[in-house]
Every structure is written in C-alpha cells, then in structure tokens.
Symmetry: C2
C-alpha cells in the first residue's frame, strides 16, 4: 500500500536524522560540530549525512580546501521537512516537558510573539487535527512503494 | 541539552512506531491485523506495542477472553501525536509521491473539502513554518534529558 508516511519515514525514520536536521536548522552544520553536539559516532554521522544528501534533504558544501572540510545546508525539501520538527516540538512540550517547561521557545517573525504551531486547513483555515478529517483513497493509492 | 524533539523521538523514534500509530488511527487496531498489514514480526510488533502503551500513547483493551485477544486504542496523548502524521503526509505528498499523486486524501470535517494541513501561529494565525521563527532558550532549557 502506498503511504506518504512510510515514504517520509524512509527518509528520516531513525532517531538520528531528525536530530541532525534540527542541528543544521539551528546553525550547527559542520561535521565536527554535529559530531560533538550529538555525541554520535563519526561513522554513524557520516552515514546519516550521506543518506540525507542522497535523498535531497541536505547539500554538502566545502568551506575549506586545505584541509578539506565540509558543512551541510538544508535544501528547499529539507527546509520544509523542518516544519515537522516544529510539530514534534509542540507535542514534546505539551506531553513530555514536565514542570520545567519548554526547553526552547519560538518567536514568530510575523507577530513577534512567543507562540507555537497550530494545524489548520488549507481550504477553510479552521483547525485541522487528526480527529478532524476523513481519510479517503487518493490517485496514488495503487502505486507501489 | 533538553530538547522536545529528542524526547518525542524517544517515544516514536524508530520507523515502526509511526506506522503502528497510523494503522491504529485508521482503525487497524488488533494485533493480528497490525501484524499482517505491516508485515512485521510478531516479536517486534509486541515490543513496539508494549513500549507505546508504557509511554502512554496507546491503551490495550481485551476484546475477547476466550481466547484472550487485545486491541489497541489511542489515548489523548496518542491522538495528538497523530497530528504529526498529517504533517508527515503533507511532506511525503509534496516531495515523494511523484506523478501518481497522493496515496491518500484528507477531507476536512469542518468544510467538507479535500485539503491538507498548514502550519499557523497560535497567536496571530499567520503561516508559521520553520523559516518563520527565531529559536530562543526556554524555561526548561537546563533540564536534564
């Protein structure tokens, strides 16, 4: 059965990839910085970065030639994937942050206020949560993978 | 460093858990059904279900006593986690569905239209994507884990 969730998980579906994305999103984008902040082995990090570059989520840029050193940047596809992080944050803040409160706050450029994301309908603009929709087969429902 | 993304991944951060959630969300909620539709080993499925129950995302209910058989239901915490699936769907539809188009369509109860989720600001209601925010330390930033 074709499924956009399964396909998305194929790109980011192990715990390190979203944390790599988070770090690149907040500007921690060089190999050594990523390795230190994530506390991940160099081998695993190199594999995840290679995978995310191959899948079109990150691009690799050389910032030093002697010695050769690389940094990573979000592609447009990767930037949109970071939207998912904002929704993860919202859920984690609500259900897992406890009395200490949210570890990170988000200030919205448009209004300058500390806020969080809401999910709304692209057509009518009203709230659109998982309980607010019916699920129907789409044109790609018979595609393989 | 405290992080709501890392905490959320601790709950759902391997590929099977979101697919288990997806299935329970669309009503495939008995062990044997889950096992058959996901093509996952009984052992791995049992472990994931146990984990999701322990973390408060699913609850387990007996629907037959002879023989004992169980089904799984989303808790309020789990239902909110399904919001994340809608955002995964949107990204997968946009970037990975190809010419076949979206495998699944979502009809919004409020307006009756086929639509998708948009991320908007809880304060001003305008679009709030990952590129629309500044990230600041929050009250729980020094919490451990």
């Amino acid at each position: 059965m074709a499924c956009s969730i399964a396909r998305t998980l194929d790109v980011i579906g192990e715990p390190w990839s979203p944390l790599v994305l988070r770090n690149v999103y907040i500007g921690i984008n060089r190999f050594d910085q990523l390795q230190q902040t994530l506390g991940i082995s160099r081998k695993v990090l190199a594999e995840r970065l290679k995978w995310l570059v191959e899948r079109g989520v990150l691009e690799r840029r050389e910032y030093s030639t002697k010695p050769p050193r690389h940094e990573y940047a979000l592609t447009p596809m990767g930037t949109e994937l970071c939207d998912l992080l904002l929704v993860m944050v919202r859920w984690g803040d609500r259900w897992l942050a406890g009395e200490a409160g949210p570890p990170v706050l988000y200030r919205h450029h448009a209004c300058g206020q500390i806020s969080h994301v809401e999910l709304t309908c692209s057509v009518c603009g009203e709230q659109m949560r998982a309980t607010d929709v019916d699920v129907l087969p789409g044109p790609g429902s018979l595609a393989t993978a």
